[in-house]
């Protein structure tokens, strides 16, 4: 099978998020980007399929050179082909525009399966996977937590609330929104990423950005006002622990060694 994984870099939430002067977007100078965590699962699922049936895996990233590290990491994990799309587009491109940019690039690769992360934390105009699927005329299933490949279809596990799973067969070519790979994303040693840096190549493809844009416009971006705030217990861990224990003790539900 030929598998394509288009990935997205998103603001790293571990860092402080700073709003720029316009008040409409995050300050790009202060921004640290990282791989969308669900895309990490999409990459892992692609590599797992490759290990099972010898699939060929292409990873596509957009624009920024920050993507190189992510692409080489994917190569170290076993991805066969790396593609970086460059062009004259805004750094805060929305998913509709990204999907339209990807459409001809992916179509040319003639994939059987496209794996995307089911969502990203900064999705404001919908999710990348179903948009790509619709533009390419492929079927889409999201919230996928496991993929089995057959000749002309895949059987996927679609997750529903409460832990219920539907086993769904989908005709290929198809797009899947991965919630979780069958195995957690593998760890690769830094030395192997460095090695991939020397052996793997990133192909660059320049595309022109699309005009159409159905995204909502933002008038204001702001840090949430806390409606309610937890009462904070100050002090080091030992002080907090002692206070917590006395609070827990007050609560009648606390039963030591409850069976």
């Amino acid at each position: 099978m030929k598998i394509v994984v288009p990935i997205k870099l998103v603001p790293d939430l571990v860092e402080e998020l700073v709003i720029d002067e316009s008040g409409l977007k995050l300050d790009s100078f202060e921004l640290i980007l990282c791989l969308n965590e669900f895309d990490d699962h999409a990459i892992e699922q692609a590599i797992l399929l490759k290990e099972k049936d010898g699939s060929h895996v292409t990873i596509i990233a957009l624009g920024m050179e920050e993507a190189d590290e992510v692409l080489f990491t994917a190569a170290a994990k076993g991805a066969d082909e790396l593609l970086r799309i460059t062009g004259d587009f805004e750094d805060d491109l929305n998913n509709h525009s990204y999907a339209q940019i990807l459409k001809p690039v992916i179509a040319e690769l003639k994939p059987d399966l496209i794996l995307t992360g089911v969502q990203a934390h900064n999705d404001l105009d919908g999710q990348l996977g179903p948009l790509i699927a619709e533009y390419l005329g492929f079927p889409y299933v999201g919230y996928v937590g496991g993929v089995d490949s057959q000749i002309d279809e895949v059987t996927v596990h679609k997750e529903y609330p409460g832990g219920l799973v539907a086993e769904v067969s989908v005709k290929l070519p198809a797009v899947l929104g991965i919630q979780a790979a069958e195995m957690p994303p593998r760890y690769v040693a830094f030395s192997r990423i460095r090695q991939a840096r020397n052996t793997a190549t990133i192909k660059e493809q320049t595309v022109t950005s699309s005009e159409q844009d159905y995204g909502p416009s933002i008038n204001r971006l702001y840090h949430p006002k806390s409606r309610k705030r937890a009462k904070m217990i100050d002090g080091e861990a030992d002080v907090v622990a002692a206070q917590l224990l006395s609070i827990l003790q007050e609560r009648s539900s606390m039963q030591r060694g409850q069976s």
């Binding site: 919908g126 996977g129 832990g163 909502p216 030992d238 622990a241 917590l244």
Partner: protein
């Protein structure tokens, strides 16, 4: 412009999803603002009875064997047909396993604007705005409801599902079925969640771990603490995705909704998907090194210390002076 507000009703195995009742409640707010009606779109097979308690002015019910299970092809064909014809002011979906599969595709297909992860609608005399909760709950994005028809996927927020339930059956209009193409999806079977494990929804005291737990080995310390306290261990998504705890211990949107007497959240940032599952808890205690973590907005008590330091301290102090 049409003033009506449409809601795409989700149901699974003959039960309307909770999120759909919340969407009906949101739709009512919005319809009161636009002066329009609330229309629920219900697709199914011999399932007209699902319309009975929907708080809507009318329900458009489409009946066909191909609609027995949720399938994106049939649902999208129908939505395309009905939305194109009716051109409502807005169509609401749950930001859920079903709603998210549909909304983006429909947006691309009909070239209609989509607002994703909407948490609140801010309605004033002369304007209607959406507020989206993005970046794991750390950022809010606000804008005017796009025109002509706004597609919106909503996260639960503060709306109670009870507001979307009605004791009076709404008017049901049976819809004609367009000819469906061959579906590219087949539901083979449903797999029930693992019932061999404990049922965390029945536990009074839960100790939950999140991304702050960086090593699998440290889970033992948390389990030791939970045992001493008479609590059960559960987790947010990253821990389950790592395979460190089974899905039966997952709390949140795609896991369990819990209402324990005490919920101790260790190293959990409080992404909306997780918070959705715990808001009914009597007492939420949050431990996170990041004092700005959204979890502190739902927690009653909190401390910004390292979760492992705290677990160590709790274990030590409990050993020295057992409580109970």
């Amino acid at each position: 412009m049409n003033k009506d507000i449409f809601v795409a009703i989700e149901h699974l195995r003959d039960e309307v999803a909770n999120i759909s009742y919340m969407m009906l409640a949101a739709a009512r707010m919005l319809a009161n603002h636009t002066g329009g009606e609330v229309v629920a779109l219900l697709f199914g097979y011999q399932q007209e009875h699902l319309a009975e308690d929907l708080e809507a002015d009318s329900v458009w019910y489409t009946d066909h064997p191909a609609l027995a299970d949720f399938g994106p092809d049939t649902y999208l064909d129908l939505l395309e047909y009905q939305i194109q014809g009716a051109a409502p002011r807005a169509l609401l979906f749950g930001h859920s396993s079903i709603g998210m599969d549909l909304a983006s595709s429909l947006s691309a297909r009909l070239e209609l604007p989509l607002v994703s992860q909407c948490r609140d609608l801010v309605l004033k005399a002369d304007s209607a705005k959406f507020v989206c909760q993005i970046c794991g709950g750390k950022m809010m994005a606000e804008g005017y409801l796009p025109e002509p028809t706004a597609l919106i996927t909503m996260v639960p927020g503060d709306l109670s599902p009870e507001l979307g339930r009605s004791t009076k059956a709404p008017q049901v209009y049976r819809q004609t079925v367009p000819e469906f193409g061959e579906s590219r999806f087949t539901v083979r079977q449903y797999v029930e969640p693992d019932t061999a494990d404990i049922d965390i929804t029945k536990e009074d005291f839960l100790v939950a771990v999140g991304r702050g737990l960086q090593n699998r080995d440290d889970l033992e310390l948390v389990e030791q603490l939970a045992t001493t306290l008479g609590a059960a261990v559960c987790a947010s998504r990253p821990i389950v995705d790592q395979g460190w705890l089974p899905t039966s211990r997952l709390i949140g949107k795609s896991g369990r909704i819990v209402k324990p007497k005490i919920y101790l959240a260790l190293g959990i940032s409080g992404a909306p998907e997780h918070v959705e599952g715990i808001t009914g808890s009597d007492l939420i205690i949050a431990i996170n090194t990041d004092p700005r973590a959204p979890i502190f907005e739902v927690a009653h008590l909190g401390a910004d210390v390292d979760m492992l330091d705290l677990v160590d301290e709790l274990n030590n102090q409990l050993e020295l002076a057992p409580v109970g």
